[in-house]
Subunit: 203 residues, 2 copies
């Protein structure tokens, strides 16, 4: 363990080396992509050797799979939290978009968004995890949209699932484009239109 026992009672919660590696890898993956960082980059940051990383994640594909597993779990928790906190479909959608915005304000992208760009180069397991992420987001959004329509909070024509998909596409694209061109402000404007387009009553 990097964090000695001395620190285990400190205010800062002690993190295992494996967690610190995942944290560093996640930050880098959300910024430069999975192929954009090396074991050496993380090793340098954590002041360990690359062999240490191999000890915890024997292959980079394992690191990637663990990365996506943890990310998907955290995202699911965030979505459940939104349902607990917000009781109108309109504020739920806004909170959903806020999840994306917060990531961008740290100069990062959605992990699955940036990995979708690298999709063709990724191992099979990671591909499946990315697809599963989009599917579960679509399902969550479809629930929100459906409930909103039934309660009269939202109005839109056509399939609920299609609109859910369109929102994901709009937000992922806004993240991608706004990072290069326009920043957080532009993301916010685009996100507002994406939500209002799929659910006019939001505007």
């Amino acid at each position: 363990m990097l964090t000695a026992l001395l620190f285990s009672m400190a205010v800062t919660p002690s993190s295992s080396t494996a967690d610190l590696i995942l944290d560093a890898a996640e930050r880098r993956a959300q910024s430069v992509g999975f192929n954009g960082f090396s074991y050496a980059d993380i090793a340098d940051e954590l002041k360990v050797t690359t062999a240490t990383i191999h000890y915890h994640f024997s292959a980079k594909s394992d690191l990637g799979a663990d990365l996506l597993h943890r990310y998907a779990q955290r995202f699911r928790e965030a979505l459940a939290d939104i349902i607990r906190r917000e009781h109108s479909s309109v504020t739920q959608l806004r909170a959903y978009a806020r999840l994306y915005e917060d990531v961008l304000s740290e100069g990062r992208l959605c992990l699955c968004g940036i990995l979708a760009a690298e999709y063709e180069t990724l191992p099979a397991q990671m591909r499946e995890q990315i697809v599963a992420f989009f599917a579960s987001n679509e399902a969550w959004l479809a629930n929100v949209l459906q409930a909103g329509r039934e309660r009269g909070e939202l109005r839109f024509a056509g399939e609920t699932r299609d609109h859910a998909m369109a929102i994901i596409c709009g937000l992922e694209g806004a993240l991608l484009v706004a990072r290069a061109y326009g920043g957080v402000t532009r993301f916010r404007v685009a996100a507002e239109i994406v939500l209002s387009g799929a659910a006019p009553a939001v505007a």
Copy 2:
């Protein structure tokens, strides 16, 4: 020249080696990204050595800049062509979305979309070219939207430029997500909603 003079009169138009290199690099960049292919990949495909590629593009950043220059030029021509061919803003928007769909149906993404994901790893010149691409697309779309609104073909609230941006984000995102999750059909559905959201009269 790879294509001997023998073929210069053939049905297939003769391409210089530099063009063939750009063609191969473009296909790969739109599939696996700029960092996802190497000089060796292209050299293998074209049955030349990597030194040949260096002869035409001394550094990979030069190749990237030329790639983006050519892509942006072709895109501009395609946009001018749409204005020439289509005379309603509704069909112009559809044709614009079709540009994206055609790329996806070949298993590729918009070059600037996929490079936007790699933005942090790219040389300065390429970054500027990517930003310029989005800016010129935004300007073109804003013109179409503005004219459509003035002619009563389109109806939407707020800034024209913001809606233009939202369309770009929606289509780029749909490309990204649909390649991994759902394919061309799903792209088409998402694109339809993106256009109808920014311009309700399209639906």
